[in-house]
């Protein structure tokens, strides 16, 4: 692998930052240079969150250029659309099929985009778009907070790291109590995306 540029995005509280931390740590374990950077704004919860993760033999800028993202991993649909223009042509978008309408939408000031609008934005660059039911799967597993590891599982087949590296990093980043369920969520995501005929 020459380089891999990845955006992980979602809404504050969905576990975006832990996910990008794990990806960067896994990159080191796989012998790569890496940088990651988050933009979280000023809120504790509920704002847009975006993580840039860059992997390669030598990484300079922590920020990815527009049009160079290989994989866009989005935990929410509006956030997927917001960063669609960062995808490179023939990039991959993996989107959790979840709409979290911002307050402005509830107040009737703005509109939440339709699925078609989102897909149209992503299609302009991506040639593979996966809309996955991550929140549903996480609920089925018994803990909605495993969404991020499910989504990471979905992205993992596109990142050439050994499965043991992922498992080690997930284990190291999560406390005992929720380790197993998160490993299961990862496994489930990995399987689900494989069945989606990649």
């Amino acid at each position: 692998m020459k380089k891999l540029d990845m955006l992980v995005t979602g809404v504050g509280g969905q576990g975006v930052i832990l996910t990008s931390d794990i990806i960067a740590q896994a990159a080191i374990a796989a012998g790569y240079d890496t940088k990651k950077t988050d933009t979280i704004g000023m809120s504790q919860r509920g704002g847009s969150v975006i993580s840039h993760v860059r992997i390669g033999s030598k990484v300079h800028s922590p920020l990815i250029k527009q049009g160079e993202v290989d994989i866009l991993l989005a935990f929410e649909k509006l956030e997927a659309a917001r960063w669609g223009h960062y995808l490179r042509s023939r990039g991959i978008a993996i989107v959790n099929n979840l709409a979290l309408p911002p307050l402005s939408v509830s107040l009737g000031e703005e509109q939440y985009l339709s699925d078609d609008e989102m897909l149209n934005i992503l299609k302009q660059q991506a040639d593979r778009i996966y809309l996955v039911n991550g929140s549903q799967r996480a609920k089925e597993l018994g803990n909605i907070r495993t969404l991020n590891m499910f989504m990471l599982g979905c992205a993992s087949p596109f990142i050439p790291f050994k499965i043991s590296i992922w498992q080690d990093e997930i284990s190291q980043h999560l406390p005992d109590k929720v380790r197993q369920i998160n490993l299961s969520a990862f496994e489930r995501g990995r399987k689900e995306i494989r069945n989606a005929n990649i």
């Binding site: 960067a24 990651k36 504790q44 919860r45 800028s61 659309a81 669609g84 107040l107």
Partner: protein
């Protein structure tokens, strides 16, 4: 050992390995994690100071007493600490003293976008600018050494992008602390800045700067990377990383020490290249200093002064400047839909929501849906705000703040408006941590000068916005030790305020009554609105639900701005996963049709 560290973690580890003994800070994005990381070490004394000036003085005292000390702060924190910083620059130190200042280009979480590099010119102290976590780690050791060698505080300047990016660090040292005990060497001419002694010190400061300029020529992280001679780029910090991605063919002079500048090295580099340019974020600090040497250089003619840089901006600027050949513009992604914004919000169960709702309604400011974002011009209230999560109360639907300037300004601004003779009542709103930081002096001033303002202290028992740090009002130190708790009510009464009320942040009726009574009062009054930050409440129970039979969609509950309350054209619902339940109930107290109630246990089961 290889580690993935944020810039802030690397700065802390670098300082630890360089033998820092005393570290002080006030939380401020993007610098907060530096002290948090240092607080984990038992063999470092780490404190949350009341404010940055106190932090600077504590570090300076420790450095006078012969132990390595540091301060970490954000750009506006350096403003607060500037008096002490200038003093440190004048007296010098005994053991090393390092000031880490984290600027916030792009204003991710600040009230301004200042370029703090100007401070080193004012103070005549050296500055280092790391370009990644590896340099952040290494530069702390250099900084302490330079501080001791040249008898000066050293500024290590980072930015949000350096402080909050994680990159690979080779950790090749362990902690080295000199065995000597802390000793203060009495030296009146050095430490007592009477005019006669200060004049002598000024001479030494000027001599020091000349020596530092010589040292800068040999500083190992000021180095030339030879590429094509057509273009030479002088750069530092994160701008270096963007520039080398955007201009991989160019020659670079990458500066790690950016004040004083290495004049000979710059001339040597300028002579090697056809065209010399500076790529730097915010102000033309390097550019102007290089131009002052009589070297021809450009940069800010093409690179924006405002906002955070990124590789796209550098590439675009390089093309319009002719540093890169023109390229066919990439097709822009057509976005036909205007995407809904997702600004930061007060959290569900935030103890600030209730009081802001009350202020907004008493001031006749809040508006129902469809109205765009500005408070009514005829509002009966002027509400001066301050710095913290509660600054978000300015957004719709609350529209409950008219000003946010700097730490503590709410009180002074309110008094100033009152003394100017405005006809509206003036209310100042400030958080507990901010009040401790910079509000006390303003309140003393308002009491002394017979102000009649209403001061509302939002006491959520933490410094929430920066990630829940303790402060004097919590009675817990940065290293988790129990200490003396400074009680807000006794503090306020001690200042001389007799009209002091403490009100439950989640009791709308009591909040409304106390605000009304304060506004009617002819004396200065203080309302302490007390309620824990909802993120610190471990157990949640009894989420609220809306009975859609009773609800007539009057939308009043939406005016709280609670993210758990969601509405579409059909109905209003509460997201029970977000609702904090029993501790809040603001929406339930507000609903005119009693359509909101505690979710029944059976209902909960049904939903599950």
């Amino acid at each position: 050992m290889i580690k993935l560290l944020s810039g802030n973690e690397a700065l802390a580890l670098g300082a630890y390995h360089a033998g820092v003994k005393v570290a002080a800070a006030y939380p401020g994005t993007p610098s907060t994690e530096i002290l948090e990381s240092l607080a984990d070490y038992d063999d470092v004394y780490a404190e949350w100071s009341t404010n940055e000036q106190a932090a600077m003085e504590v570090a300076l005292g420790a450095a006078y007493a012969g132990v390595r000390a540091m301060v970490s702060l954000k750009q506006v924190g350096l403003n607060v600490a500037s008096d002490a910083f200038m003093a440190a620059a004048t007296t010098g130190v005994s053991a090393g003293m390092v000031v880490v200042c984290a600027d916030d280009p792009g204003i991710h979480s600040s009230q301004n976008e200042q370029d703090s590099r100007h401070y080193v010119k004012l103070a005549k102290v050296p500055m280092l600018e790391p370009a990644d976590s590896q340099e952040a780690y290494e530069f702390m050791a250099y900084a302490f050494d330079i501080s001791e060698k040249f008898d000066t505080p050293v500024l290590v300047r980072t930015t949000t992008r350096i402080s909050h990016s994680k990159s690979v660090v080779k950790v090749d040292r362990t902690r080295a602390v000199p065995a000597s005990q802390a000793v203060f060497q009495h030296n009146v001419a050095k430490y007592v800045m009477l005019p006669a002694y200060a004049r002598l010190r000024h001479q030494l400061v000027e001599e020091r700067l000349v020596k530092l300029a010589d040292f800068s020529e040999t500083f190992p992280s000021n180095h030339i990377l030879r590429g094509e001679h057509r273009l030479g780029v002088v750069t530092s910090g994160v701008s270096y990383q963007y520039a080398i991605d955007a201009l991989p063919q160019a020659s670079f002079l990458k500066l790690g020490m950016t004040y004083p500048l290495p004049q000979n090295l710059l001339r040597q580099f300028a002579a090697q290249v056809d065209k010399l340019v500076v790529i730097e974020e915010l102000d033309p600090f390097l550019q102007e200093n290089i131009q002052a040497m009589g070297i021809k250089v450009s940069g800010k003619e093409f690179i924006p002064r405002a906002g955070e840089l990124n590789p796209d901006i550098i590439e675009q600027a390089s093309r319009s400047a002719g540093w890169l050949p023109k390229a066919p513009a990439r097709e822009k992604i057509g976005i036909t839909t205007e995407l809904a914004k997702r600004p930061p919000l007060l959290c569900p169960g935030c103890p600030h929501s209730g009081i802001f709702f009350v202020l907004s309604s008493i001031g006749q400011r809040s508006k129902l849906s469809g109205s765009k974002g500005k408070p009514s011009k005829e509002s009966k209230l002027i509400i001066t705000g301050d710095i913290g999560c509660y600054t978000l109360g300015a957004y719709p639907p609350l529209l409950a703040l008219d000003t946010t300037a700097c730490m503590g300004a709410s009180i002074g601004l309110a008094l100033g408006m009152e003394k100017a003779g405005v006809s509206s009542k003036v209310v100042a709103v400030i958080g507990d941590s901010t009040f401790m930081h910079a509000g006390i002096t303003g309140l003393v001033n308002a009491v002394y000068n017979s102000g009649r303002i209403t001061l509302i202290i939002l006491d959520n028992g933490t410094t929430a916005m920066t990630g829940h740090q303790d402060h004097p009002g919590t009675g817990i130190s940065a290293q988790g030790k129990e200490t003396t708790k400074v009680e807000l009510e006794s503090l306020v009464r001690g200042i001389g305020v007799s009209n002091v009320r403490v009100v439950d942040a989640f009791n709308l009726k009591a909040l409304r009554a106390s605000v009304r009574s304060s506004l009617d009062s002819t004396e200065l009054s203080v309302i302490i609105v007390r309620g824990s930050c909802s993120m610190l409440v471990p157990k949640r129970s009894g989420p609220r639900v809306i009975d859609n039979e009773k609800c007539n969609q009057c939308d009043v509950c939406l005016l709280i701005g609670c993210p758990a309350i969601q509405s579409d054209s059909e109905r209003i619902t509460i997201d029970t996963a977000l609702c904090v339940g029993d501790i809040c109930t603001i929406c339930q107290q507000l609903c005119p049709r009693q359509a909101i109630s505690r979710q029944s246990e059976t209902g909960a089961e049904e939903l599950a």
